[in-house]
């Protein structure tokens, strides 16, 4: 999977979110808001998984807690912990919009400002004369203020600069200069708060500043005032909330003044100045410290709470008497300023410290209580708790116990993070149950919960079934080699092609830049053929939100940054002429939406496949899909397609068949197949009958203490499982082999290249015919370099994969580099000796500094600086090619 270009995040991954209590200001009774804090994660972990872990939590506010272990050492403090809190603070300010005349009639300046501190960005575009519809265009370069960034081809993001201002307050503004001669009819913008990712619009739409004729008599209020009149500001309180009252609809709406008259240049433009109130919620860091000391005489616990939260802070608390977390009331007496709340909890007002900003309170707790539980209440609508749960302060009668507690704390943390991936559903169940406990609609909820869980269970069972029943029970190498060897190796199957394929990855991460990649590659087709390649993998051809093509939008629009559909057709034709099969890069996991739903979520598709949100998986909260839960991992930057929907599969099959016929693609490279069940891939392959197909199943290798494990069986098993799920109808990139080559070459651990059975340690050792080996691709290398092959050792990598079974893939960047002649020799050794995807490897040496193998008794090879020469036996060996730290021999 390719990384997502940052600008895309504008639409798709504004995940750092704040909760806004005001959201509910308009609902009749605002339910109390709880803010949550989390403990600081123990470790970042592998980035992908931690990302997934965090995603669901991002729904709530977070804070972190640091356990003050030092405090434990003190003689009488049995517990001390500081929890940090994020408190929402509402800040009011204003957005100003000013249109002023520049040095002459033709030059004007639009100044947009904001009085609130923050990283503000103006996201804007223009409309030209003759533009129809609501699309934006990019303004001419001279209009763009310094620091502006182009967002795709229709918008500009310009940062607001801090300016010293009126009454010494800091003010943020951006100035856009423009000339009335350049055919612009309007400037559209929204304001974006980069910190929170919030977008500030005007009445749910873009701000629009019309630049052409104002018709004073059309009742539009904006134009009515002449000169630089100061506008009276908006009515009432405006805030950054979604649920807004749509009162006085048309009176002040200056956006509605789009001119219907033909635009007239040089019509009199009048300056104006407007202010719009803006309310933003920001989070302020506060903390609460809880310490428990034990009175040596009475053995009672004294619990002390101190917080720097401003205002009146009420501790809403109870105690636990046994191991459960049931709230109970303690024995009287209670601390001062304490009220009993519905006989279920106590509410104690913390006392403000003299002259300080802190509030504190102390609580004497009897022996025999196991815990003190509480939440903090700031006002009716604002509660603070600990990560969605009550603060739970374990009480103990001895210090030893306390240690256990802190241990169990950390144990819980680990457990939590490790189990979190399974718990999405379970959490939901829990939510539902909470609802059940709290609402009358309990029974229906139970039913719904059961339904959704049963569905999930069914899906899991189906997955388990598909794996268990698969013909090849496990990958012990005996079975494979027997089964594979017996097959006639010329038979063409989509998992292997002819078995003698050598693949060229025909692009890199920059290929879209020229805009004419198809044409450029056209020139190279003959050369690639003469180098010995039989298959070329072309970049994703569809219209895409990211220029590289991995964020497809309209699947039937094949005009991309790589060229037009006609250029693509002619390129495919050219490759066929020179005898090269062409793989299309099919991105089936996700698709970018065309439209927002009624909630403003991008999950409605357009174009020929105008799916709605039923085509989107339900378990990525960012896209509010109404489909089923994903059958694989989620790719978080775009709506993930729900392949379990019949209509989706039908459409995708049709599309693949269309690509085969219309473009002439011979097969597929399938992007991010981790995202959905391999069984669906089988469905697609069966329908589109490709000559060759390969899936990208890329996940992390196994590491222990930062060091890659020698045994990567689990990793390759996952890839094999996927191939299995496709029924072997597709190969998969051998990520395992690449990973092991990294360690072997980089750290002189060539011994890693033999597994415990003396076989190659990657997928190629277990299911060679389905292993598509590679050392680099557009993601791992190129200009992204997510996981770059050890520099300078690429040829050793190629000496390995081009002599070994599996289907080797050579990366474009390497083909057109100094390595070309060496690569060419290796490929010709492979071709000449008819090494194929099922060739037999005999590992001769796997030591610290050298690995050597004999393949099909026809080719011998070694990589690494160590010594190896093949023994002359029945065969005589002659050196076929060599380079830095590698040698290849042929039997003669």
């Amino acid at each position: 999977m390719s990384a997502v270009a940052t600008e895309l995040l504008v639409h798709y991954s504004l995940r750092r979110r704040t909760l806004v209590p005001g959201i509910h200001a308009y609902s009749r009774r605002a339910p109390p808001l709880y803010l949550n804090c989390t403990r600081r994660p123990l470790s970042a972990g592998p980035s992908l998984s931690s990302f997934e872990l965090k995603a669901p939590k991002a729904l709530t506010l977070r804070a972190s807690a640091s356990t003050d272990t030092a405090a434990v050492v003190e003689s009488d403090v049995v517990f001390s912990e500081t929890f940090s809190l994020k408190r929402p603070v509402k800040v009011e300010g204003k957005i100003t919009i000013r249109l002023v005349n520049g040095k002459d009639e033709e030059n004007w300046q639009l100044i947009v400002g904001c009085s609130l501190p923050g990283k503000w960005v103006l996201h804007w575009g223009v409309k030209y004369i003759g533009d129809v519809g609501s699309e934006w265009d990019q303004p001419p370069p001279e209009m763009r203020p310094p620091g502006s960034i182009a967002i795709k081809d229709y918008a500009i993001e310009s940062p607001l600069e801090k300016s010293s201002t009126l009454e010494g307050e800091s003010f943020y503004e951006v100035k856009i200069d423009f000339n009335t001669n350049n055919s612009i009819t309007a400037i559209n913008f929204v304001l974006k708060d980069e910190d929170s990712g919030s977008w500030y619009q005007h009445r749910g739409r873009d701000f629009k500043v019309p630049l052409t004729e104002y018709r004073h008599d059309d009742g539009n209020v904006v134009g009515a005032k002449k000169g630089f009149g100061i506008w009276p500001g908006a009515f009432g309180q405006l805030s950054n909330m979604l649920l807004k009252s749509e009162g006085a609809e048309n009176k002040m709406d200056f956006t509605s003044c789009e001119s219907k008259a033909p635009p007239q240049q040089n019509s009199r433009l009048e300056g104006f100045y407007e202010e719009h109130p803006i309310v933003r919620e920001t989070l302020v860091d506060n903390s609460v410290t809880v310490s428990v000391t034990q009175c040596p005489e009475t053995a009672k616990n004294l619990l002390y709470i101190e917080t720097d939260l401003p205002g009146d802070v009420i501790v809403h608390w109870g105690v636990c008497k046994d191991k459960g977390r049931k709230w109970e009331l303690p024995e009287q007496p209670y601390p001062s300023e304490t009220k009993v709340f519905k006989n279920k909890a106590l509410r104690t007002l913390l006392q403000r410290k003299e002259g300080g900003t802190c509030s504190s309170g102390s609580f004497t707790l009897d022996v025999g209580l196991t815990a003190f539980v509480f939440a903090l209440k700031l006002n009716e609508n604002t509660w603070l708790n600990n990560m969605g749960k009550d603060f739970y302060i374990p009480l103990s009668s001895s210090r030893v116990l306390n240690k256990e507690h802190s241990q169990s704390h950390s144990a819980n943390k680990t457990k939590e993070s490790s189990t979190a991936y399974t718990d999405g559903i379970i959490n939901e169940i829990r939510n539902l149950v909470s609802d059940i406990a709290s609402e009358k609609s309990r029974k229906t909820k139970i039913k719904e919960a059961q339904e959704s869980i049963l569905q999930e269970i069914e899906k899991l069972a189906a997955e388990a079934y598909s794996i268990f029943r698969s013909a090849i029970p496990t990958f012990t190498e005996e079975e494979v080699s027997e089964a594979e060897v017996l097959k006639p190796s010329v038979k063409i199957a989509s998992g292997t092609g002819s078995g003698f394929e050598v693949v060229c990855q025909g692009f890199n991460w920059e290929s879209h830049k020229s805009g004419r990649w198809y044409m450029e590659l056209h020139q190279k087709a003959a050369e690639l053929s003469s180098l010995g390649f039989t298959v070329v993998w072309l970049p994703p051809p569809t219209e895409s939100v990211s220029p590289e093509g991995y964020m497809p939008k309209d699947l039937y629009n094949l005009n991309s940054r790589y060229g037009s559909i006609d250029e693509l057709k002619s390129l495919v034709k050219r490759f066929h002429e020179v005898g090269i099969m062409v793989l299309g890069d099919a991105v089936l996991n996700h698709r970018c939406a065309h439209y927002k739903n009624q909630n403003g979520i991008w999950n409605i598709f357009g174009g020929r496949l105008n799916w709605d949100d039923r085509a989107v998986v339900a378990d990525d909260p960012h896209f509010q899909g109404r489909g089923n839960k994903s059958s694989g991992d989620n790719f978080h930057a775009a709506p993930n397609i729900d392949h379990s929907q019949e209509f989706v599969r039908k459409d995708l099959k049709e599309w693949l068949c269309w690509l085969r016929q219309e473009i002439g693609y011979d097969g597929w490279r399938l992007d991010f197949v981790r995202g959905f069940w391999g069984g669906y891939v089988k469905d697609y392959i069966d329908a589109s009958e490709p000559y060759f197909a390969v899936g990208e199943y890329w996940d992390s290798l196994n590491y222990t203490y930062g060091e890659m494990d020698h045994n990567q069986d689990a990793h390759r098993q996952r890839i094999v499982d996927w191939i299995n799920a496709t029924n072997g109808c597709a190969g998969a990139f051998d990520v395992t082999t690449k990973g092991i080559l990294h360690s072997a070459l980089e750290r002189y651990e060539y011994w890693r290249l033999s597994d415990e059975k003396g076989k190659p340690p990657g997928v190629v050792g277990w299911w060679p015919s389905r292993a598509v080996t590679f050392i680099e691709n557009h993601d791992t290398g190129s200009t992204q370099g997510h996981w770059r092959f050890p520099g300078g050792k690429e040829m050793q990598g190629y000496a390995y994969i081009l002599t070994h079974p599996g289907t080797p893939t050579v990366f474009y960047d390497h083909i057109f580099s100094d390595y070309q002649s060496e690569l060419s020799k290796l490929i010709s050794v492979r071709t000449r000796n008819k090494i194929h995807c099922r060739s037999i490897v005999k590992v001769m040496k796997a030591e610290r500094d050298v690995y050597a193998a004999i393949i099909d008794e026809k080719v011998a090879m070694k990589i690494g600086p160590g010594y190896y020469e093949p023994q002359t036996g029945p065969q005589k060996w002659s050196l076929a090619t060599e380079g830095k730290d590698y040698k290849v021999w042929e039997a003669s």
């Binding site: 504004l14 979110r17 909760l19 959201i23 339910p31 109390p32 808001l33 990712g197 919030s198 977008w199 619009q201 009445r203 749910g204 009515f235 405006l238 909330m241 979604l242 200056f254 109130p277 191991k323 459960g324 977390r325 049931k326 709230w327 519905k342 539980v373 509660w383 708790n385 749960k389 009550d390 739970y392 819980n412 457990k415 189990t419 829990r430 939510n431 149950v433 909470s434 609802d435 406990a437 709290s438 309990r442 869980i453 269970i457 899991l460 069972a461 388990a464 794996i467 268990f468 029943r469 496990t474 012990t476 909630n599 403003g600 979520i601 960012h622 509010q624 689990a714 098993q717 499982d721």
Partner: protein
């Protein structure tokens, strides 16, 4: 005029935010009070550190007391007794386990079908299954050489299970399994090459090579070590290696007692097509010499020269032979009693050795130890019970052969695993005079008498809802078991033909017998009523 904010993610979150409001706002405190009441202490802490409430996925299919008529009528009788015991394990809290594939761990110590197992575990968890059973094979864990253990694969399975929040019952298997092609350790079978008498042997000299003969239990056949010592070391090493799981994830182990882990002679090889009941397995060198000594000691040296000469072969009709015929068979003779007592006694001693080995090894960890009692139900409806006799259970129309066995379990505080509680009499072929139901009843009676806990297992994947009916009958009747392990996960388990009925079965088990209106969730005081009812059921 107003400014509104739109950010896709914000909008996204609104729905969720709402939910949280409700959850936290409305029930944060009430749930701590009310909700705790319906959760029995047993389940609290299942989600330690995740939520202030305890929630087991069981509540999906709310687990409700079976306030059946029997329970109520017996309440008066039992309540007194019950109040004294108050065990937390109660019948209507039946624990439900599912067996993992026999080949969950390969001979190279990797997990087979890891993804399928992961998905399967998740499905089971969601379904409300309590745990899984994992067979650990001698031939895998101690494959390389004696004393060289490799638990890697099994540890990873245990980890998976732990992560999924399921319990684990481990079966330590000292036998080989043809079905999943797990052999005995090679170093064992090598010894078997040179000393074939370490295996059970029948009259025709055929060796049963899937487990060691009980006659070598105390013979130093492994470079001076006896099998019992080797088993013991295996258990010790297992205990140490899995210490972090003991009592938390691992709740129980069962120790392999013989063929298929069951306490019996391998008299009866699956699959048996004939009408035979098996063969006596007393013909290895050591058995014979022991028989000889025993006969001499009892003053009938001639009886010790061989096994019963007129016993049927496995191909003959069981009751056709002189030894086992219904009326006037030599089994009823003095010699018959001599031989059968000895034969069955050997088995009971073997069971005692292994169970005491296991119970002493695991005495310092909080897990239950179990052993498997065979269900030799063929020919049960005859007077001589040929199948049981040849399997080593001296159970006839005149004699209860299970008392002695169960007594050994009781002495070692072990639980008994009963396979085949899915078997119904009516499904058995008429000609074999089989009655699994009556046999089960007899064994359970003995178990109750000695107060040992029973775990049930099914004999095979149930193809039809009727099989599940039978299981349910066994689980919910008077002879209710404490734990039921469904055997076992795999392709047919998850197949569309089977899995839906399994799901229905689990839901059925977990579902209230009362009308949903009477759900305890609603009643504040229901929590108090729970333990009482539980106790009734358990004491019944």
């Amino acid at each position: 005029m107003e400014v509104s904010v739109i950010g896709s993610s914000q909008v996204n979150n609104l729905g969720r935010v709402d939910l949280r409001y409700r959850e936290v706002g409305l029930c944060s405190f009430s749930k701590n009070l009310n909700f705790a009441k319906i959760s029995s202490p047993k389940y609290s802490g299942l989600f330690v550190g995740q939520s202030s409430i305890s929630w087991s996925s069981k509540y999906l299919f709310p687990l409700i007391v079976k306030a059946s008529a029997t329970a109520q009528t017996e309440a008066a009788v039992t309540s007194e007794k019950a109040s004294g015991t108050r065990r937390s394990e109660v019948d209507n809290n039946l624990m439900l386990y599912v067996g993992l594939p026999l080949d969950a761990v390969s001979s190279t110590n990797t997990i087979n079908h890891a993804r399928a197992i992961a998905a399967g575990l998740k499905a089971l968890k969601l379904l409300g299954v309590d745990g899984v059973e994992l067979p650990i094979w001698w031939g895998i864990a101690e494959k390389e050489a004696r004393g060289q253990y490799n638990w890697a694969g099994y540890l990873s399975v245990a980890e998976m299970v732990q992560k999924m929040g399921l319990k684990l019952h481990v079966s330590l298997c000292f036998h080989a399994c043809k079905e999943s092609r797990v052999p005995l350790p090679e170093w064992v079978s090598q010894i078997g090459e040179s000393q074939p008498d370490i295996y059970f042997t029948d009259r025709s000299g055929q060796r049963y090579k899937d487990c060691l003969s009980l006659s070598v239990d105390d013979l130093p056949i492994f470079d001076g070590k006896t099998p019992i010592q080797v088993y013991k070391e295996f258990c010790e090493n297992f205990k140490t290696s899995f210490s972090s799981f003991m009592g938390s994830t691992i709740t129980g182990i069962s120790i392999g007692l013989g063929p298929d882990g069951e306490l019996r002679y391998p008299s009866y090889h699956k699959p048996a097509k004939s009408q035979g009941a098996g063969e006596f397995q007393c013909y290895d060198k050591n058995m014979l010499s022991h028989l000889k000594q025993h006969a001499e000691a009892s003053g009938n040296p001639l009886w010790g020269l061989s096994g019963p000469h007129d016993a049927p072969s496995s191909k003959e009709l069981a009751t056709s032979s002189g030894f086992l015929k219904e009326h006037g068979g030599s089994w009823e003779s003095q010699y018959g009693d001599f031989f059968l007592s000895w034969y069955a006694g050997q088995l009971i001693s073997h069971g005692d050795r292994l169970l005491s080995l296991a119970s002493s090894t695991f005495s310092d960890v909080p897990i239950a130890v179990s052993g498997k009692v065979p269900l030799m139900h063929s020919w049960y409806q005859t007077r001589s019970h040929p199948a049981e006799l040849m399997a080593g259970i001296y159970n006839t129309v005149n004699r209860d052969g299970y008392e002695g066995i169960i007594e050994v379990f009781s002495r070692n505080s072990c639980k008994a695993i009963l396979p085949g509680i899915d078997l119904a009499d009516e499904d058995q072929p008429k000609e074999t005079r089989s009655s699994p139901e009556s046999l089960l009843e007899q064994i359970i009676f003995s178990c109750r008498k000695y107060g040992i806990e029973i775990s049930g297992q099914n004999a095979r994947i149930s193809g039809s809802p009727s099989g599940f009916q039978q299981i349910k009958k066994s689980l919910t009747g008077e002879n209710a078991v404490d734990l039921f392990t469904y055997q076992r996960m795999g392709a047919s388990f998850f197949s569309p033909e089977h899995f839906p009925s399994f799901t229905a079965f689990v839901r059925d088990l977990r579902q209230p017998q009362l009308h949903s209106d009477d759900l305890a969730v609603e009643k504040v005081d229901s929590a108090e009523s729970l333990p009482e009812k539980n106790v009734q059921m358990q004491a019944a």
